[in-house]
C-alpha cells in the first residue's frame, strides 16, 4: 500500500477531528443553535441538554462528577483559571506556588505573571528521565504554599510524572494540586480520584475533538476547591467562567471523550507497538541515537530522539513530506533550543538534534516504515557533511573542545 503524503506524525500538537465527532456536532450549528443560557424556550433547553450530556461524557472519561467540569476555550485558559483563580481565592492563606521547569508555557508564563504580583513560585528541576524528584517537592512545601501545579504528561517528551504520588503529598500537606493533563487524558487511564487531583486542565483538540474548547476539572468534595473567576460576565459555569457556551464545540468534546473512553485500551496498545517498532527500526538503521526522557514512564504514542551530530531544522528540511517537530532553536523565532530538553541536562547540542514523533488514531505501519527509511537516508547524508560527526569519528571528544563562539 502506497502511503499518502504528507504524513502527519505530530499528534501532540493537534489531532484531526474524528468524523464521528463532526457528525455529532453538525446539527448544533444549524438546527439546534440555541443559547444554552436561554431558560425560557425549547431552543435554549435543547442546547442546555446537549451541553449537560457532553459534561457527563467528559466527566466519565476522568472519573469525575459532571458538576465538576467547567468548560473553557481550551487548556491555556484552563491553566490560567486554575492558577490565577486559586492564587486570588487563597491569597490570605498563602502566596507560594510550586511548579516544574518542564511545564507548558501556559503554566510557566502564568506563574511568571503572578511573581510580578508578589507571589513566590518554586520551579522544581527534573531528573535526567524528565520526572520531578518527590523529595524535592516535599521539601519545597511551606506553610505559605497554596498550590502545586505539575503536568501529567509532557508535550515534548511524553514523560508521565508521578501524578498519584504528587497527589498524595499534596493531600497530606493540605495543598491544592492542579495538573495540566492535556496530553494524557483520552490516551491512557486518568482518574481524578485515584490520582488525588484537585484540578485538571483538558483540551478537546488533543483528543480528536474540535479546537477552541477545553475544560477545567474542579473538585467539589474533599476538598471543595474555590476559584476566583478570571473572566467576568453573566456568571456561566457556576460563576467560574462567564461567556456564552460554545455548544457545538462542547458537543464535539463530549463525543470525543466518549470515543476515547471506549477505544483507549485498544488504541493505546496499537500505538505503543507502532511506536516501539519505529524506535527499533531507527536504532537498527542508525547509530548514536539518544532517547530524551524516560522510556518507562512515557505516553505510548510519543517518541523523542536526538540524532547526534545532525541539526534538527536541517533534518526537518530533508523530511519535508513528514510533519514532526524539532526541539531545535531554528524552528522557531527564538534562538534557544527547547527548554524542556535542556532541563534534562542532555546538552544543548543534543537538544538541537531532536525530533518529536507523535503517533495517533490514523497512524499506520506503512507510514512508520516510510518515515524511518527517509530519516535514515537524511541523517546519513547530513552526517556525511557534519564536521562534528567527522571529529567524533576521528576520536575527538567534542565536550572537551574549545569552540570559537564569540559573536554568536
Amino acid at each position: 500500500m502506497a502511503v499518502k503524503l504528507p504524513i502527519y506524525m505530530d499528534y501532540h500538537a493537534t489531532t484531526p477531528v474524528d468524523p464521528r465527532v463532526v457528525a455529532e456536532m453538525m446539527p448544533y450549528f444549524t438546527e439546534h443553535f440555541g443559547n444554552a443560557a436561554s431558560r425560557n424556550h425549547p431552543f435554549g433547553w435543547e442546547a442546555e441538554e446537549a451541553v449537560e450530556k457532553a459534561r457527563k461524557q467528559v466527566a466519565d472519561l476522568i472519573g469525575a462528577n459532571a458538576k465538576e467540569i467547567v468548560f473553557t476555550s481550551g487548556a491555556t485558559e484552563s491553566d490560567n483559571l486554575a492558577i490565577k483563580g486559586v492564587a486570588e481565592m487563597y491569597r490570605e492563606k498563602g502566596n507560594h506556588i510550586i511548579t516544574a521547569v518542564t511545564e507548558h508555557k501556559a503554566i510557566i508564563d502564568t506563574c511568571k505573571r503572578l511573581e510580578k504580583d508578589g507571589y513566590r513560585v518554586t520551579y522544581l528541576a527534573v531528573q535526567k528521565d524528565g520526572r520531578i524528584n518527590l523529595d524535592e517537592l516535599r521539601a519545597a512545601i511551606t506553610d505559605k504554599t497554596i498550590l502545586i501545579t505539575i503536568m501529567a504528561a509532557n508535550n515534548e517528551i511524553g514523560v508521565i510524572q508521578p501524578v498519584a504520588e504528587i497527589g498524595a503529598i499534596a493531600k497530606e500537606k493540605g495543598v491544592l494540586f492542579h495538573t495540566d493533563a492535556v496530553q494524557m487524558v483520552g490516551k491512557v487511564p486518568f482518574n481524578v480520584n485515584d490520582l488525588k487531583v484537585d484540578m485538571a486542565s483538558l483540551s478537546a483538540h488533543k483528543m480528536y475533538g474540535p479546537k477552541g474548547v477545553g475544560a477545567l476539572y474542579v473538585r467539589r468534595r474533599n476538598p471543595r476547591v474555590l476559584l476566583s473567576a478570571i473572566i467576568d460576565g453573566g456568571g456561566h459555569e457556576r460563576g467560574m467562567r462567564s461567556g456564552t457556551l460554545n455548544v457545538t464545540g462542547i458537543v464535539g468534546f463530549g463525543k470525543a471523550a466518549e470515543l476515547c473512553k471506549q477505544e483507549m485500551a485498544v488504541e493505546s496498545e496499537r500505538l505503543r507497538k507502532l511506536r516501539d517498532y519505529l524506535n527499533e527500526k531507527l536504532h537498527k538503521q542508525l547509530d548514536e541515537l539518544y532517547i530524551n526522557g524516560s522510556m518507562e514512564h512515557r505516553l505510548p504514542h510519543n517518541l523523542n530522539i536526538s540524532f547526534a551530530y545532525v541539526e534538527g531544522e536541517s533534518l526537518l528540511m530533508g523530511i519535508n513530506d513528514v510533519a514532526v517537530s524539532s526541539g531545535s532553536a531554528c524552528t522557531s523565532a527564538s534562538l534557544e533550543p527547547s527548554y524542556v530538553l535542556k532541563a534534562l541536562g542532555a546538552g544543548d547540542d543534543l537538544a538541537h538534534s531532536s525530533i518529536r514523533f507523535g503517533l495517533g488514531r490514523w497512524s499506520t505501519k506503512e507510514e512508520v516504515d516510510y518515515v524511518a527509511d527517509k530519516l535514515t537516508a537524511v541523517v546519513t547524508k547530513l552526517r556525511d557533511m557534519s564536521p562534528l560527526y567527522e571529529l567524533a569519528k576521528e576520536g575527538v571528544d567534542l565536550s572537551t573542545m574549545v569552540w570559537q563562539t564569540e559573536g554568536h
Binding site: 536541517s314 528540511m317 570559537q404
Partner: protein, 141 residues
C-alpha cells in the same frame, strides 16, 4: 518557515562537501561556531603557492538549511579568488544572494567568520613553515 529556492538548492545539492588534509601547508582550515549554538562550520581552502589563488574549497556544516547553504555558497565563491579577494567577501553578500530572512543572518556571519578563519590559518602556516615548506612531503588527499 519558507526557504528561498537558492537555499533549498544548496541544501539538496550542496557544493564542495568534504575535507582536505589539515596538515597540508597549502590548506587553510577554519572551524567556527559551537554545537550548543546549533551551528558549526568547517571551511577549508587550498591555495596555489605560485599564484596565491584558491584552487579548491571544501566545507562541512552542522546547522540549519541556511547555514548549510551559506557555507556551500561560500565555497563556490572562494574558488578562483585570490586570498585577498576572498577576504573581501561580506556576510551581507551571502544574505542577498540567498535571500536570508533576519533570523538567519547569523548563518551568513558564521560563513564569513569561517572564510576569515580558514585564510588566517593558511597565512599562519605560510609564515611558520616558510623556510621548511619545501621539505614537507605533500600528503595525498
Amino acid at each position: 518557515m519558507a526557504y528561498s529556492t537558492k537555499v533549498i538548492d544548496h541544501y539538496e545539492n550542496p557544493r564542495n562537501v568534504g575535507s582536505m588534509p589539515k596538515d597540508d601547508p597549502n590548506v587553510g582550515t577554519g572551524l567556527v561556531g559551537a554545537p550548543e549554538c546549533g551551528d558549526v562550520m568547517k571551511l577549508q581552502v587550498k591555495v596555489n603557492p605560485e599564484t596565491g589563488v584558491i584552487d579548491d574549497a571544501k566545507f562541512k556544516t552542522f546547522g540549519c538549511g541556511s547555514a548549510i547553504a551559506s557555507s556551500s555558497l561560500a565555497t563556490e565563491w572562494l574558488k578562483g579568488k585570490t586570498v585577498d579577494e576572498a577576504l573581501a567577501i561580506k556576510n551581507t553578500d551571502i544574505v542577498t544572494e540567498l535571500s536570508l530572512p533576519p533570523v538567519k543572518i547569523h548563518c551568513s556571519v558564521l560563513a564569513e567568520d569561517a572564510i576569515k578563519a580558514a585564510i588566517s590559518d593558511y597565512k599562519k602556516k605560510q609564515t611558520a613553515e616558510g623556510k621548511t615548506a619545501e621539505k614537507v612531503a605533500q600528503p595525498t588527499a
